[in-house]
């Protein structure tokens, strides 16, 4: 059953962000961390609100993970931390995707529940890392969405695809979510196809990021008249594989020219 999380009101988001701007050490924010804020609200959709104990447990788990990566001192192995945090957030929060699409939910996590962790991961963060401006950049929100779009409960490790793409490439997928990026089935199979090409050496000698973006561009061109979501996995993989190979070939041809 989905759990409802509080959303931090916008005025409060700006006020807290401004207040924390003078913080020199994330440890200073530990005492500010809380499970409650008067300006945190719940949407009026029936459901079960998250209990304070559960918020406490979530914050404690995240801090344990952060300590393994340097917290409260300088962050180390941040890519590994992000992948582990994506698993943790997605695996424990029980938040509905429509709730997770709310930027204010993530602002509550970064400004009220775990400001110390947020400021540790991104010291002197730009607003979009901790505020409600861009979910693809948010310290916590972007990781939950990465996990949501790649997790596959039929696999022994549902989150194994998290390591296929780096943050920048995943942002490309998420930015095109209206066309291709918001279907877990498509994203999962896209990553499978890409990893298969990489493992078989098909991507050797090409600029992988350029080729990946070229594939996304080609997909965007065809989705108005192709319903990729209507396909079963086999047909979808075949279509994505064909598109990916075309993109790689085009990049190779351009390099040769």
């Amino acid at each position: 059953m989905s759990v409802l999380y509080p959303r931090l009101l916008r005025g409060r988001i700006d006020a807290l962000f401004e207040e924390y701007a003078s913080v020199v050490s994330p440890a200073e924010l530990t005492v500010r961390a809380s499970v409650h804020d008067d300006a945190a609200v719940y949407v009026a959709t029936g459901g079960t609100r998250v209990l304070p104990d559960r918020l406490d447990d979530l914050a404690a788990s995240v801090r344990v993970l952060a300590r393994q990566h340097g917290y409260p001192y300088a962050a180390t192995r941040t890519t590994e931390f992000d992948v582990a945090l994506a698993r943790l957030l997605h695996g424990t929060m029980d938040i509905a995707p429509a709730e997770a699409a709310s930027r204010e939910v993530w602002a509550f996590l970064s400004l009220v529940l775990m400001p110390d962790v947020a400021w540790w991961r991104y010291p002197n963060p730009p607003g979009d890392r901790v505020k409600n401006t861009d979910i693809t950049r948010h310290v916590f929100g972007r990781l939950w969405w990465r996990a949501e779009l790649v997790h596959d409960t039929t696999l022994a490790d549902p989150y194994e695809a998290l390591t296929v793409l780096g943050e920048a490439d995943f942002d490309q997928v998420y930015a095109r979510r209206a066309q291709i990026g918001a279907s877990p089935k498509i994203v999962r199979n896209l990553l499978l196809v890409w990893r298969s090409l990489r493992d078989s050496g098909e991507l050797n000698g090409v600029n992988e990021r350029e080729a990946f973006r070229s594939m996304l561009t080609q997909l965007r061109r065809v989705v108005p008249f192709l319903s990729l979501n209507a396909l079963d996995d086999d047909a979808l993989v075949a279509e994505l594989d064909r598109t990916a190979r075309q993109a790689v070939s085009a990049i190779r041809a351009a390099d040769l020219a």
Binding site: D38, A39, V43, A44, T45, G47, A98, I186, P224
Partner: protein
């Protein structure tokens, strides 16, 4: 759907004839409404429709090769979650005319906002390019039709949580409890929470059936509604900060209490009602009943 210039032949729209979608709430199907204000993430959407597909006409008009495999599918997209998904897929294996009954369940946990439900006929696999104008790529949309439903209201709904009171400090025998917390400047929707005791079968069922209440459910919901208004009025009157001169920002608890107060007492002053409540609290409670038209009584 956005008008698209398809790079392949498509059949006449009449080659596919769907019935209207019906939404199954409880045991009884209803024509898919435009909005379902009582929906929440825990309510899966069960939809049914029948569809008649003239496969022979489609194959001829699209110049498809014999081996082309067609599917009729139901895919959805939610504005709330931004997610897409496939809810059903049926192979159109027989030649001639296919008549199918589609039944889909879309999990409430993955949707929200406006839900678009597309019924599509697609090429299920790629096929030989025997004709330059024929569709050949897997997923080519031969026919489609969209229906939509708005799942969430305008945020004016009351936050509700159905829980077992046994696990709380609330009396186990109670049926509901309105929790009000925070100052009058706090955000209203974060300050109010209606807790419904899951063990209280009649009341829990009434909330479960709120989308299509039975007569008995209407009575229960009306009683709860009146009680909520009474508790809010009492909360307002008990707060020294709630007075005639106070100004509250929009969407604060103070603004919501003021709204309820005005709806119940009209132009009467807070001071006047507070004095009345002190002298005769039961009469004020009865005035609330009348103002909310408890049980839908004629006035």
């Amino acid at each position: 759907m956005t008008r698209v210039a398809y790079p392949y032949l498509r059949p006449h729209q009449a080659a596919v004839e769907p019935s209207a979608w019906t939404l199954v709430l409880g045991d009884e199907p209803v024509v898919l409404p435009e909005a379902l204000d009582t929906w929440d993430y825990n309510l899966d959407l069960r939809l049914r429709r029948s569809i008649r597909v003239d496969v022979e006409t489609i194959r001829a008009q699209c110049r498809l090769p014999e081996e082309a495999v067609l599917d009729v599918c139901v895919v959805w997209r939610s504005s709330g979650s931004g997610l897409f998904g496939r809810a059903a897929a049926e192979h159109l294996t027989e030649p001639g005319v296919a008549e199918l009954d589609l039944e889909v369940v879309i999990p409430g946990s993955v949707v929200g906002g406006v839900l678009d439900i597309d019924t599509v006929v697609v090429l299920a696999t790629p096929c030989a390019r025997v004709d330059p104008l024929a569709p050949w790529r897997a997923g080519s949309m031969i026919w489609e039709q969209r229906s939509s439903i708005r799942l969430q209201g305008d945020a004016s709904q009351f936050p509700i949580s159905v829980i077992d009171f046994a696990g709380t400090s609330l009396p186990e025998g109670a049926a509901w409890h309105l929790q009000i917390s925070g100052s009058l400047e706090s955000a209203a929707m974060g300050s109010l929470l209606l807790l419904v005791n899951a063990r209280h079968k009649q009341v829990a069922e009434a909330f479960g059936n709120a989308g299509k209440p039975r007569p008995v459910d209407r009575l229960v919901l009306s009683a709860v509604h009146a009680d909520i208004a009474r508790v809010m009025v009492e909360h307002a009157l008990a707060s020294d900060e709630f007075d005639d001169d106070a100004e509250y920002d929009e969407e604060t608890l103070g603004a919501m209490l003021r709204d309820v107060f005005v709806r119940v007492f009209g132009q009467r002053t807070v001071k006047d009602v507070r004095l009345r409540a002190k002298d005769n609290p039961s009469l004020v409670a009865t005035e609330v009943q009348a103002a909310v038209n408890i049980f839908g009584g004629d006035r």
